[in-house]
């Protein structure tokens, strides 16, 4: 059901609907700002023999043509999370390693002139053989993406939790399968924007960019520019046109434009165009998973072995290989499986570097795990829903410590499944299938049950190192969230917080949370979320990613509001001549609980700290600004045996769907889709459902449409929106959204993240339905008509 009139209108909307948004390219730039155009590699792998820039430099209006040699002189390679001999700078040096890699930068008075001059830059390449397929790239005969690394398989770690060997020995059956998850992006409609200034007098940088965080990448940029953090001021605009993880990867261009500003002595602006974005911005990594399960006759999974090979393209940018490790603690998903062996392998290939993307490792993991439950059902002649039920973690085991170390906070997975399947929904799905099949049509049903982690432990990625290496480096753990409540002279309230805006309605929800504590209406609270690293509070965990808002920043805002409320109670008590315990904040007043007529307007009491701080109760610091700092203790570092609580809260999603396959066009049509979410306490149902619908559409896109494809030689084949199919309204089916709430006991709000669940659950749910419809074991995503045709032909 679509809610027609939300309870609370979004604070963001009036401006955005009126053309008054303030996105990066809308903001004014200093007079004299130059404009940059990036020249990119047409080859997947080649030596740069020569770059001729004279003709371009002679062009009217051109200020500079910057190449890798300039970048090498003025900057350092980017810091990485894993030490690999694969240095990356802001421009290619000596060699290009993927189609679209930045090779030179033309800086001119206008973008039009920069693009004209770019055609005068002559670059001579000597082509090399390219490594494209991830498995082939691991062979010893494969071309090396980075010769210094001596291998393309740059990180391999093996983990053993429980006693997998015994589990496999005791099993009735071993069921094995291989899945491949495609490379794709969720292509925000606004591309990257950077405006960089350099102050030569102080050797400092001031950069505006639609960067999304995490701000652990701020030191990466500052170090590359060879300045301390405070000399690299980064400002994030108030609005950003979507991100979905992708806008982390604007950071190499922040450095590049910073260098261009330094070289030219002028501010430099760069706006990425769509062709550049598709060929070179960022994407999620593709993964090959080989999975083996030790299974009892009744479908119970006794043990698992996973070999996960993840393809990060040409460079391992920080914080990669995040997707491979973000799910490490929850590698057993929603299931009570005590024994699991995991082998994580990172491979580099001659493709665009991969990085953050909504779902972040979840879609890859669950494609394997949830295809497996469907295969178990087929091979053991069981009902797939029974296989899921039989393996789900029982409600009484929460909080539940998984084999790999995650601490699942709350849930009743079986109950959520029963609710979703109830009310005749499962019968209806089966009836539609049976009717379709009776008429000779191709129809299948799919399920998926997944755990959705939120708010990453900053220490999870250190699991990529051995315990000994971690000891040497020092422990990493936790995740800090911060929000501040400010009071102005007339008692008006503003809120700032450590998030970047990308459409998640943070203004609205923060106003809701803070106003609730202060007895005000959300309309009384202004929320200002543009972020400035020089003036705002932030930690390495700041930004908008890993669904950290509901269990992180929202809690910090609640804490800040409670701190402010308690101070105002004390101030109010003195002015009302009552005890603080008798004071409440309600209806825009601060009043006596026992005698509500004894009341003062909120603004009158709240302004006291500005006008008469000497009158404050003894020993009280003025109540002008309160910052909530939230750092949950559950986010411990990895243990010596590599167990890691990868995230802070863990939601649950159960999906079921019916699909029909057209025997003429080979198109997959989603006929019915039901999605059940347990995200703890829902902070705002309209916004929650909006996030779920958005993730669902992206899940459908991954299942059926979107893929960054390359030829065997590494040519990029999906460089426009005509080749790379983003679904329109015609391609997105209806989804019935259901909620079940198991509040998290670990946070005062009880809320968990929920914006990534369907990116994880939907691709595999649809894949399972296709497998059921066609009676096949292997379904490759996206299940395009060409691939469905091959499956149908293969079955004949």
């Amino acid at each position: 059901m679509i809610k027609k009139h939300p309870v609370m209108l979004r604070k963001e909307d009036a401006s955005l609907l009126s053309g008054r948004g303030r996105y990066a390219d809308d903001l004014p730039v200093p007079v004299g700002t130059l404009h940059a155009h990036v020249i990119r590699s047409p080859h997947a792998h080649a030596d740069i023999v020569r770059i001729e820039t004279q003709a371009a430099l002679a062009h009217d209006g051109v200020w500079a043509v910057i190449t890798g040699e300039d970048v090498r002189k003025l900057s350092d390679p980017f810091l990485t999370a894993v030490k690999v001999a694969a240095p990356q700078w802001a421009l290619a040096i000596e060699r290009v390693r993927y189609v679209g890699e930045a090779v030179a930068l033309v800086v001119a008075e206008t973008r039009y002139i920069a693009e004209d001059a770019a055609e005068l830059v002559k670059i001579e390449y000597a082509q090399l053989a390219a490594a494209i397929d991830p498995e082939a790239a691991c062979e010893s005969s494969a071309p090396l993406v980075h010769a210094e690394a001596k291998t393309n398989e740059v990180s391999v770690r093996e983990f053993s939790y429980g006693n997998t060997k015994t589990a496999f020995a005791a099993a009735d059956r071993v069921i094995a399968m291989t899945t491949t998850f495609p490379r794709l992006s969720f292509t925000p409609i606004e591309c990257y924007v950077v405006v960089a200034q350099h102050n030569a007098a102080e050797n400092s940088y001031d950069v505006l960019a639609n960067f999304q965080g995490p701000f652990s990448i701020h030191p990466v940029m500052a170090r590359s520019l060879r300045v301390s953090g405070p000399k690299m001021r980064l400002r994030i605009p108030p609005d950003s046109g979507g991100s979905f993880g992708i806008k982390l990867s604007v950071f190499p261009y922040v450095v590049l434009m910073g260098l261009a500003a330094k070289i030219t002595g002028r501010p430099v602006k760069w706006v990425e165009d769509r062709i550049e974005h598709l060929v070179a911005a960022s994407c999620g990594p593709n993964r090959v998973t080989k999975l083996e399960a030790a299974v009892a006759e009744d479908g119970r999974i006794l043990g698992l072995r996973l070999d996960q090979l993840e393809d990060y393209g040409a460079f391992l940018r920080a914080p990669m290989p995040g997707p491979l490790y973000r799910m490490q603690g929850s590698v057993t998903g929603a299931y009570d499986i005590a024994n699991v062996d995991v082998k994580n392998r990172v491979v580099l290939t001659n493709k665009m570097p991969s990085s953050l993307i909504r779902g972040f490792g979840g879609p890859q993991l669950y494609l394997a795990l949830e295809r497996l439950t469907q295969r178990i059902a087929v091979e053991l002649h069981l009902d797939p829903l029974d296989v899921i039920r039989r393996n789900l973690i029982p409600a009484q085991k929460f909080p539940y410590r998984t084999a790999a170390g995650a601490l699942y906070d709350s849930g009743d997975y079986l109950r959520a499944v029963e609710i979703a399947a109830g009310d005749g929904r499962i019968e209806e799905l089966k009836r539609r299938r049976d009717t379709a099949r009776a008429a000779g049509r191709i129809y299948g049903i799919g399920f998926s049950a997944i755990v959705e982690p939120a708010m990453s432990n900053m220490g999870y990625l250190s699991t990529v190192m051995t315990a000994a290496a971690r000891d040497r480096a020092g422990p990493k753990n936790g995740a800090v969230s911060m929000a501040t409540v400010n009071i102005d002279p007339l008692g008006a309230v503003t809120v700032t917080a450590d998030v970047t805006v990308q459409g998640q309605s943070h203004e609205t929800v923060l106003a809701q949370i803070v106003s609730e504590q202060l007895g005000l209406s959300p309309d009384d609270v202004e929320v200002v979320l543009e972020l400035d690293t020089a003036k705002d509070q932030w930690s390495i965990a700041a930004g908008t990613y890993s669904s950290r808002f509901a269990s992180g920043t929202a809690v910090a805002a609640h804490m800040a509001a409670v701190q402010m409320r308690d101070k105002l109670k004390c101030i109010g008590a003195k002015q009302l001549n009552v005890l603080p315990d008798d004071v409440e904040l309600a209806g825009g007043n601060i009043r006596s609980r026992s005698n509500p007529d004894n009341a003062l307007p909120f603004g009158r009491v709240a302004g006291t700290s500005h006008w008469s701080p000497v009158m404050l109760p003894e020993a009280m610091a003025p109540a002008l600004s309160e910052t909530g700092v939230w750092t949950p203790p559950e986010l411990e570092p990895p243990t010596h045996d590599d167990r890691i609580n990868t995230s802070f809260t863990y939601g649950f999603v159960f999906d079921m769907c019916g699909v029909e396959i057209d025997p003429v066009t080979y198109q997959v049509r989603v006929d019915r889709y039901v999605s059940m979410h347990d995200a703890g306490r829902i902070l705002n149902e309209t916004i929650a459902d909006g996030q779920i619908r958005g993730a669902f559409a992206q899940g459908v896109a991954a299942a059926l449409y979107e893929e960054f494809s390359y030829s065997e030689e590494g040519a990029f084949l999906s460089g426009t929106f005509a080749d790379y199919l983003v679904p329109t309204v015609s391609e997105i089916p209806e989804v019935e959204i259901l909620h079940y709430e198991s509040p998290s006991p670990f946070t005062p709000l009880g809320a968990k993240g929920l914006a990534e669940g369907n990116c994880m659950s939907t691709p595999v749910c649809i894949a399972n339905a296709i497998a059921d419809a066609l009676g096949v074991a292997d379904v490759t995503l996206p299940a395009t008509p060409r691939r469905i045709h091959a499956l149908l032909e293969g079955g004949k």
């Binding site: 027609k4 609907l17 009126s18 390219d25 979507g242 062709i275 309605s505 619908r693 309204v729 997105i732």
Partner: protein, 164 residues
């Protein structure tokens, strides 16, 4: 027919949201760049510059068009309307904008101006469309945040179909 030299800037005069304006433009300048960077009307957004995403849709003489596929000089003497024209001078949202707000039909808001302008044109010609017609027009726009359902609901709402 007006003859233009490739490298010579020309003054382009048009009516933008009811006000006569003019500014210099090279003959090759896109209307999007002209609106945003010469006239300061940044409400019109650029999402793909190849006519697929629909973010840059504006009305030219009342007809919805992709401003990224239009040259500034082509708008000479014409009446251009952008998203900035929709709300009243005091900021009050019009019915279409209000329906988007009531139905949570936008998240990041970047594609929204183009969708609003497409439907400003379409609903003026066809005030009571069927859901199929709404979907057909909307399929000319890409939105990555919402999954579209709430946009359809908003337009049904404003087209008087909210109760159907």
């Amino acid at each position: 027919m007006r003859r233009l030299k490739r490298d010579q800037k020309v003054r382009v005069a048009l009516t933008l949201n009811g006000r006569k304006l003019s500014a210099e433009a090279e003959p090759r300048m896109l209307l999007t760049d002209f609106l945003r960077h010469a006239l300061g009307a940044t409400g019109t957004h650029v999402g793909c510059e190849h006519g697929v995403c629909g973010s840059c849709t504006v009305l030219i003489d009342g007809v919805a068009q992709r401003s990224c596929l239009t040259l500034a000089v082509q708008a000479e003497g014409r009446d251009v309307r952008t998203v900035e024209s929709l709300a009243a001078a005091d900021g009050t949202l019009n019915a279409l904008q209000t329906a988007f707000r009531n139905n949570h039909a936008l998240q990041c808001g970047f594609c929204t101006p183009g969708i609003l302008m497409s439907f400003t044109d379409f609903l003026a010609r066809n005030p009571h469309p069927t859901e199929g017609e709404i979907r057909e027009v909307l399929s000319g726009h890409l939105c990555r945040c919402t999954g579209y359902a709430n946009i359809v609901a908003a337009i049904k709402d404003v087209a008087g179909q909210g109760d159907q």
